[in-house]
């Protein structure tokens, strides 16, 4: 049987990506000498149409029954070449990729060493591929319902795109209302659209959409199942208000005697213990904050209950678990704003009138705590304002990355200050990054509006005056790197442009949905260029700032892209699931059930009658840990059998 093995080896030059760092001709010549190899060829781009045709032709004309492609990573092109060999009539799994680019030509300094390593990798692949078995992929139907997690602009956009096509969406939002960060913003750069004006229509649409079930004040508690058929448990936190009865009149909030800082107002204004976060909240049903409510703390008050004209207050409400079934999931869980207090030299939390960007958004908003008047703590208007860029971003001590939106919102602040007051505005920047449509033009406009731009990172903000004119002021100390001199500028207000950072629960979320995070803590996309919305878990997509800092246009684009991916899956109706599952040889199984105890998916059941274990193909994800543990060698992992791996080791060390 083994004599019938006919292997074709295809060595790709990848232009100069591979051929520039190793001798592909010598590698091809070597491959030709390997046992079982019928033909070895070298071509400039194996993945191109002529390259693919080369392989298909050889399969047809030479009767090849195994193929090795020595090229880039299998993560990149395994699917391509599986399709190619399939088109020529052999089973797609009779292919092996030798990764001689990412794992060889690109990482090896010496050409001779790279050539030798490529030979070893190809020998390993050739040795392995002869043991490959044909496998059949199975198809399962996709549940056409979708879960969107996060009700900011990304989640709203994705939910609407999908729901508008007539497919059901469950939108889960952690806080009492959708709207996310965007609803807290005043204007949006560079067009100066009012953020709430462009977002609230979409929020209302979500609230009344026949195909969207909004689960606000809720969190995902558990995810199980698999691609196309996820089972999700959602915990709906008790609002202590009956949403069916409440008509949102607001009387309870008016009468509630307890005041506490409002999260929506970034702490700049108060809210009550029973509250809706803001006037246009969706849904418009208040919640009782049990940490501040007198009844929950001391057992008396219940004023809200007395004044409610519809008897909607329900102190006995409890958290509810809802189980939903969906085919795809979009994570749009957003970001957190960096807390600048650790940078003590900037004085946030110690000096009055040093505020964060989010605080300024609320301060300047006409629906905010000051009615849109830019005021200092003492109620007067500032005569001069310093805007400090890159607070927590582009900083080795905090976040190395650029938060991407700060330069632009800083320019927006300068404009809003100039529009409302006659104050002097100083922008302290490292580099101005105005990369989007109309952004550079906006920068130019602000330069013309008389804003002072100082190139330098602020070293310190202090209230220690060194001259009479600094008295009673905040002094911004920075090096102006364009003139190469230290500067001290006395101002009345300092705005810190704080970084966007991963949500505090990003780690937990990533684990719950089984996706990875990049080094900066944001969710990791499947491919940074070509697959920025998918993740390594099929059926789970990401959108918005959960994936990395981005502005509203990019967020909307990414959310729409994620929705498009989901809609494509829904319209296809079914997915191919992994053929690389484990299987039990009943003749060898001794029924010890070691495997069942190890399986993370409970995919192994015990057949008491036969005294053997069985693997459920649908639940098995092919990790192979049961295979590694089986004391009788009765379980094998399809496409990763012991035989195949051992042969690969032999080939590699040949």
């Amino acid at each position: 049987m083994k004599n019938d093995i006919k292997i074709g080896v295809y060595v790709c030059n990848c232009g100069s990506n591979i051929a520039g760092s190793l001798d592909t001709a010598a590698v091809t010549e070597y491959a030709q000498t390997l046992d079982g190899v019928t033909i070895a060829r070298n071509y400039v781009f194996m993945c191109s149409d002529p390259g693919q045709e080369l392989i298909r032709n050889d399969i047809r004309e030479l009767g090849l029954n195994r193929v090795v492609v020595a090229a880039c990573s299998p993560i990149m092109h395994e699917a391509t070449f599986r399709r190619v060999v399939g088109e020529a009539g052999i089973n797609p799994y009779l292919l092996e990729i030798a990764n001689i680019r990412e794992h060889c030509s690109w990482i090896t300094e010496d050409k001779g060493e790279a050539t030798a390593k490529a030979k070893a990798l190809i020998a390993a692949a050739v040795s392995r591929v002869r043991h490959h078995q044909p496998l059949e992929t199975r198809k399962v139907a996709i549940n056409p319902k979708t879960l969107v997690v996060g009700g900011g602009i990304a989640g709203i956009q994705a939910a609407l795109e999908i729901a508008d096509s007539g497919h059901r969406v469950y939108l889960v939002e952690k806080t009492p209302s959708i709207g996310g960060r965007m609803i807290q913003l005043d204007k949006t750069f560079p067009t100066l659209d009012c953020s709430a004006c462009i977002l609230t229509p979409k929020m209302t649409q979500v609230g009344s959409h026949p195909f969207i079930e909004l689960l606000s004040y809720s969190e995902v508690a558990e995810v199980s199942g698999y691609f196309g058929n996820f089972k999700v448990k959602v915990r709906q936190k008790a609002r202590y208000v009956d949403a069916e009865k409440c008509n949102g009149c607001g009387l309870c909030q008016e009468k509630c005697p307890i005041k506490t800082p409002s999260e929506f107002e970034a702490g700049m204004g108060p809210r009550k213990a029973i509250y809706t976060p803001f006037a246009q909240a969706v849904p418009n049903t208040p919640v009782i904050d049990t940490e501040h409510c007198t009844y929950f703390l001391k057992g008396k008050c219940r004023l809200c209950e007395q004044v409610c004209p519809r008897q909607a207050i329900a102190f006995d409400q409890e958290d509810e678990i809802t189980e939903i079934e969906v085919g795809s999931i979009i994570l749009a869980t957003g970001y957190e704003v960096f807390d600048p207090s650790p940078i003590s030299l900037y004085g946030y939390g110690q000096l009055d009138n040093v505020i964060t960007s989010l605080e300024f958004e609320r301060l300047v908003n006409s629906a905010g705590p000051t009615g849109g008047e830019i005021k200092l703590k003492d109620g007067s208007a500032p005569q001069s304002v310093a805007i400090v860029h890159c607070v927590g971003s582009r900083d080795q001590n905090y976040h190395e990355y650029c938060s991407r939106v700060c330069c632009m919102y800083a320019l927006k602040y300068a404009h809003l200050i100039k529009e409302k007051l006659s104050a002097d505005v100083y922008e302290y920047y490292i580099d101005m990054r105005c990369f989007g449509k109309g952004y550079e033009e906006f920068y130019k406009r602000l330069s013309d509006e008389g804003v002072s731009f100082i190139r330098g990172k602020v070293g310190r903000v202090t209230d220690e005056a060194e001259s009479p004119e600094e008295k009673g002021k905040l002094v911004v100390v920075a090096e102006d790197t364009l003139i190469g001199a230290m500067t001290r500028v006395p101002v009345d207000m300092v705005i810190l442009c704080t970084a966007l950072e991963p949500s505090p629960d990003a780690e937990e979320t990533a684990r719950r949905f089984n996706i990875s995070r990049s080094a900066d803590g944001f969710f990791l996309e499947k491919h940074p260029k070509l697959d920025p919305v998918a993740t390594t878990t099929d059926g789970v997509f990401i959108a918005g700032c959960a994936q990395g800092p981005k502005d509203i246009p990019d967020t909307v684009a990414q959310a729409s892209a994620a929705a498009a991916r989901v809609l494509a899956l829904i319209s296809r109706g079914e997915v191919e699931v992994e053929a690389m599952t484990a299987c039990v040889n009943e003749d060898l199984c001794c029924g010890c059930r070691t495997c069942a105890a190890l399986c993370p998916y409970s995919a192994i059941t015990f057949d008491a009658e036969k005294g053997v274990s069985n693997v459920n193909d649908v639940l098995c994800k092919g990790c192979g840990t049961c295979v590694a543990a089986c004391p009788s060698g009765a379980i094998s992992a399809r496409h990763f059998t012991n035989e195949q791996i051992m042969a690969e080791i032999e080939g590699l060390l040949r």
Binding site: E102, T108, S516, A628, I649, L652
Partner: protein, 137 residues
């Protein structure tokens, strides 16, 4: 001639293999003596595979998996950790330095860490010298 070690690295498909790919994409150079084998999960790596590699002439074996808590299959990396601990004891009984087999965590975003781990391993095996498996038997 100086000793050039031969090292086999088992890489899990989801974290370490992708971390190695990222090292490649970022052109971070590392020792060519370390040669990869892809498995779906580090939990698939059987101690016999490690022994097989040593028997076939490897001077060292590297097993790379996802960081604790980040395993694509929840807990495969914990299982391989336990298995390799046990294997370490056995290697000593066989007269093989247990430093020749090393388990490390490399995530998909840690291209530079991949190169660092590979280079460290190559250095370590160089210091230990060739594995005299056949000579001692």
């Amino acid at each position: 001639m100086s000793f050039e070690p031969r090292i086999v690295a088992f890489l899990c498909n989801w974290c370490s293999y992708r971390g190695a790919d990222l090292a490649g994409t970022s052109r971070i150079k590392s020792a060519a003596s370390v040669k990869p084998i892809r498995v779906m999960c580090s939990g698939r790596v059987e101690p016999t595979m490690v022994l097989k590699a040593l028997q076939e002439g490897a001077d060292g074996v590297l097993v790379l998996g996802c960081h604790p808590g980040d395993c694509h299959y929840h807990s495969g990396n914990y299982k391989t950790r336990r298995r390799l601990l046990m294997l370490g004891n056995m290697l000593e009984q066989l007269g093989i330095e247990k430093e020749r087999v090393r388990l490390e965590w490399v995530s998909a975003s840690e291209g530079s860490r991949f190169a660092q781990v590979v280079n460290e391993m190559a250095e370590q095996i160089k210091e230990l010298g060739p594995l005299a498996l056949n000579a001692s038997s």
